[in-house]
Amino acid sequence: MSSTIVSLPDQSTARIPKDNYLTRENGILSWLLTRDHKRIGILYLISMTFFFFIGGALAGLIRLELLTPQSDLMAADTYNKVFTMHGVIMIFFFLVPSVPGALGNFFLPMMIGAKDLALPKMNLASWYLYMAGGLLALWAMITGGVDTGWTFTTPLSTHYVNTNVITTGLAIFIAGFSSIFTGLNFIVTIHKMRAPGMTWFRMPLFVWANYAASILMVLGTPVLAIAIVLVALERTFGIGVFDPTKGGDPLLFQHLFWFYSHPAVYIMILPGMGVISEVISTFSRKRVFGYTAVAFSSVAIAVFGFFVWAHHMFIMGISNYAVLVFSLLTMLVAVPSAIKIFNWAFTLYKGSITFETPMLYAFGFMGLFTIGGMTGVFLGVSGTDIHLTETYFIVAHFHFVMVGGMLMAFLAGIHFWWPKMTGRMYPEKISQLAAVVTFIGFNLTFFPQFILGTLGMPRRYASYPPEFQILNVFSTAGATILGVGYLLPVLYLVWSLKYGKIAGNNPWQATGLEWQTQSPPLTENFATPPIMDHEAYDYEWLENQKEKEVASVR
């Protein structure tokens, strides 16, 4: 593309720096016992890609089953297990740790000019906990699965099903500690490890977004932990806390569960929004419009996020007044989300925009997230919620936000920082193709589900009335295209590890501190500790900087 801003170093002379975090130490142990945040980020990236494809395969099975109205590919029980495990794996082992675990671990310290996270051993421990939780969940899946839905709703989970509820619960409990550790680590690092001159309002917005998500992780996850412990106790000892025959209240479980699990959706989406802020600014060569507003809207989402949990329970017998209050609070969340979307749009305005792959994904994010967010308001209004809840409308809504929003942001981030992580460029043309394929496949998969939901097709059933078939066929076809869209990046990114063009320090001419060092970075990130003497996203500073630049001696 002629308009591209990629200015690769002269390929005849360019080479990957000999000393970097990948080559400093060798051998499998140097990875498994590493305390380097960059290596841990890579470990996360590899392991969560693994879980993503397991979850994706389960999603493929779901769509295959729904190709025909009858429950013919698998029995209804099996279908229940498949969608439950799809939910559990995708949410707890992909979406929650995706951006913080891989990109946050890798780039958050570099962005604030630190050598590492504040607590490197804890960081490694969080990866081991994540793996332990993930493998336990897989083990639960192989030895019989679990069919409660990812929400473990009582009394179904405590009294009626006889599947691996406790094992899966334990897996989530362990993975919860992993995300608590990550959250703690980020908060401490952001408070204590900023480089000289890196004031709060000079931090990149990615850091702000991760900060807000970390607060949610630290405050929300323990409540999920206690809810799971109580379910386990109820199952093993019959303690009666959620058992109406003993005076307990099954709804109480949902209050505790959603007190975590609603903020959890912001844990998933906020870091993604951070990625989008970086990408949009870099590829429109402009400072993010309304930096302070975007930064505070992250925090506002985190705060509001704690006061909307009961909107998952409008039809479950909470009082009308509670419905009213939670409905209003829910709509309030739309405000900071809209602030972000509008500010990104204004950043684009009169920017010099180029269409590299990360930017394509970011555009995808903006469109799909807006649709996902708007339909969220439909669901927040209690009247329409009564019609739409537990239908495919909900399924489409959260897939638009989580897959259309978060996964797009994750892929944008992976492509954006790939040159920094590996020192090599991904192939531009085919990755642009992948971005477009993903976008088309996504819309074809999930847009029909909005219509299905409005027509009244309930979620979580293996069979459905024949008149819904045509839309379901569209959806399944879309899922196939989407699958190709996700497979492509894996193939060409792995290919680029060996054959990609050498990227150089700053292929995007971005302003973040992480771009002002070699790629791949040194183990200690910076040859000399950086000093932040300019505002975030200051492209003029970068221009002046280039004049002073000398060739790297390493």
Partner: protein
């Protein structure tokens, strides 16, 4: 460390919320249930735990003052007080098991439907509860075991770390200027103490105002 304690607060906060709601709904059953708990034992345990917090605070101070033997002594005292606490807790649990007050299939309502059969209930002047109210006492004991069990689990973890610290302190690890570990453990221990200070009145002392 403060952030970690914050996560602990949220964890126990969930339990306390559950307790508060049910206590509000089933007040008479919770009162009758709480009469079954022994205040002397609970009170003694409170004293023990507060004392152990004091010895822990002393330990931090001695670590800062670089007094090795005093530090080791204080840590051992803290450990011993913890053991005694858990021992007393064990005795209380044993009594509950014997009276079939452990929730589950063997749960017995005898003490509440027919208080005359149970000297403890007689001493508290309990009146017979109707069947459905009496059944709610199971919920009280569920929460009693869940909350004190969770608390005991935290103590056991804490004592594991204490044992490790005693071992290290004898080698002189914390008396050479690096007192942070002792200090942070102190925070943790005080936190566990505070949880008990909330648990004691909630479980043992309701209806005794």
């Amino acid at each position: 460390m403060w952030l970690f304690l914050l996560t602990e607060v949220m964890f126990f906060g969930g339990l306390f919320t559950v307790y508060m709601i049910y206590r509000n709904w089933y007040y008479p059953a919770f009162v009758a249930g709480s009469h079954q708990l022994s205040i002397p034992m609970g009170g003694l345990n409170s004293v023990l735990l507060i004392t152990s917090s004091f010895t822990m605070a002393l330990a931090v101070w001695f670590a800062e003052a670089r007094k090795k033997s005093a530090l080791v002594l204080c840590l051992i005292l803290t450990f011993v007080l913890g053991v005694v606490f858990l021992g007393i807790k064990g005795l209380e649990y044993k009594e509950k098991f014997e009276k079939h007050h452990f929730p589950g299939t063997h749960y017995s309502l005898q003490s509440f439907i027919n208080p005359a059969s149970d000297p403890v209930a007689v001493a508290a002047g309990d009146k017979a509860l109707p069947q459905d109210t009496a059944q709610r006492t199971e919920l009280f004991f569920s929460l009693y075991f869940a909350m004190t069990g969770m608390h005991a689990m935290h103590m056991i973890v804490g004592m594991g770390i204490l044992a490790f610290m005693i071992f290290r302190a004898r080698a002189g690890a914390y008396t050479a200027g690096h007192t942070q570990f002792v200090e942070y453990f102190g925070y943790y221990w005080h936190f566990v103490d505070i949880v008990w200070i909330f648990l004691f009145p909630l479980l043992y002392l309701i209806n005794r105002h």
